[in-house]
């Protein structure tokens, strides 16, 4: 049987995506709004970006004159240390773009991009790696190596623990000859002495510090809080017996507000214990 034997095959192919009928009146209003904005911008990119990204972009500009700094590391390498209170944009020599979280450090050696592209990270960053099949992009802990040729991902390294959540393309975790591929919307985790593990990460919550979006879909409270605490460098206390499925979309640009909302949803409230230390108290724990 041939496709031409199927009645209407070609017509049906030609209607591919024709079901999409955007509202052109609303779209025209958006166009006018954007054109007003674009008259005062020199940037050619005029697509709407969310407010969080605007804020961080503004903060990045501020950074250039304030707290973030970079210095020449040992043997002529380069180190960026983001001591400011806003994400810091870094462009690497090969065109790779990095957004470095507050309190994180990124460095690369003088021979970066000769035969490979090796960086060291302590903390968290979002990478958009410039595609170059011949020069792999590598990040190591002592046991595990992350290998990339060109893709976008969020990477957190805390001592020997490595956690990569991929938003585009795919990466590989190499450990003792074993390769764990991690695809888009998956998360790979490497901890010392254990095989690398991989899990689905449909909502890309580990990108929240950058994207401002947290989505939990019947996520156990304990895991949701772990995500928030890792993502924003907070310590969050809650009674260990208190665990229930959490569902909701949260505006992730303010983790404290998210914690307050979660507490309030469960009839409790949020107490600040110290800088970056919080407690959910008086919770009914889903009961």
């Amino acid at each position: 049987m041939n496709t031409s034997d199927i009645k209407g095959f070609d017509q049906h192919v030609s209607s591919y995506k024709e079901g999409f009928t955007p509202d052109s009146t609303g779209a025209l209003a958006r166009l006018h709004a954007q054109m007003e904005k674009s008259t005062i911008k020199t940037d050619s990119v005029v697509r709407p970006i969310n407010r969080f990204r605007w804020l961080s972009a503004a903060a990045v500009v501020l950074l250039l004159v304030t707290a973030g700094y970079f210095l020449l590391a040992g043997e002529g390498g380069t180190e960026y240390n983001n001591t400011s209170d806003a994400p810091m944009a870094v462009a690497l020599p090969d065109g790779t773009k990095v957004l470095l979280q507050e309190g994180s450090t990124l460095s690369y050696p003088v021979d970066y991009n000769d035969t490979e592209r090796h960086v060291d990270l302590s903390g968290q960053a979002f990478f958009e790696v410039h595609k170059d099949k011949d020069r792999p992009f590598l990040v190591n802990t002592s046991e595990t190596e992350l290998r990339v040729t060109g893709t976008a991902f969020n990477l957190r390294i805390n001592g020997e623990e490595m956690e990569v959540e991929v938003s585009e393309g795919s990466v590989e975790l190499h450990r003792q000859g074993h390769i764990t591929p991690v695809k888009a919307r998956q998360c790979g985790i490497a901890v010392p002495g254990k095989k690398c593990t991989r899990m689905e990460a449909t909502n890309l919550n580990r990108h929240a510090w950058r994207t401002g979006t947290l989505t939990f879909d019947s996520m156990p409270l304990s895991l949701a809080l772990k995500t928030i605490s890792n993502n924003f460098g907070l310590e969050i206390k809650v009674p260990t017996t208190c665990d229930f499925p959490l569902t909701g979309n949260f505006d992730g640009k303010n983790p404290i507000a998210v914690l307050e909302t979660i507490a309030a949803m469960d009839g409790g409230n949020l107490k600040q214990l110290a800088v970056d230390r919080y407690q959910l108290s008086d919770m009914v724990c889903g009961k």
């Binding site: 496709t3 034997d5 199927i6 192919v13 999409f20 025209l28 697509r47």
Partner: protein, 191 residues
């Protein structure tokens, strides 16, 4: 401003070049939906498709003085522009596939169990079959069948050889044929 609906594309472009902003609105109303569909065939994301078309219209306005080429054929011009913008969009996000990918092997049994087959259903199944092609295969198929691009143009746009374009087309047809024949067989309806 009178009723723009009666003004020809050619006259719209002339008046656009003269800086008459109402003509931009008219072009937008005429072409927005179609262009969004074209962009969607490439990027497979409705929001991004709309953004791409919005940006095209902004560029059209900003560069209105230089719109020589479009005279008399604004539809094809806009369509070509949106194709290029969609491809650039995919390229910027490194979403141009670098390999052939695997043809899906499993067919969801529940999808095939329906006893009635009508044309709407067949259409939906054909569309979802196109969506299940590996990305390179899907893009090549869409560009050739729906965007009427030549194999040479497709090869250049995706930075692959014309031979690969042919192979991907063969592959797409084979998959669609097998997928649909099995479906029609199970549905028990022959045309």
């Amino acid at each position: 401003m009178g009723n723009m609906a009666a003004v020809s594309d050619k006259d719209l472009i002339i008046r656009l070049r003269a800086g008459e902003s109402a003509t931009l609105d008219e072009l937008f109303r005429r072409y927005y939906v179609d262009l969004c569909r074209t962009a969607l065939r490439f990027v497979n994301d409705e929001q991004e498709a709309e953004d791409i078309v919005q940006n095209l219209f902004i560029a059209l306005w900003e560069k209105r003085a230089g719109q020589q080429e479009a005279l008399g054929a604004v539809g094809p011009y806009l369509r070509r522009a949106v194709r290029n913008r969609s491809l650039n969009y995919l390229r910027d996000r490194k979403r141009i596939p670098v390999d052939d990918g695997d043809i899906p092997e499993t067919l969801a049994a529940k999808d095939l169990a329906d006893d009635e087959l009508n044309q709407d259903e067949l259409r939906d199944r054909i569309h979802s079959a196109i969506d299940s092609l590996p990305e390179r295969c899907r893009l090549v198929f869409v560009m050739s069948k729906l965007e009427d691009m030549t194999h040479k143009e497709i090869a250049e746009a995706l930075e692959i050889s014309p031979k690969t374009v042919e192979n991907q087309m063969t592959r797409a047809y084979r998959f669609l044929r097998e997928w649909l024949s099995l479906f029609l067989l199970i549905a028990g309806t022959f045309y």
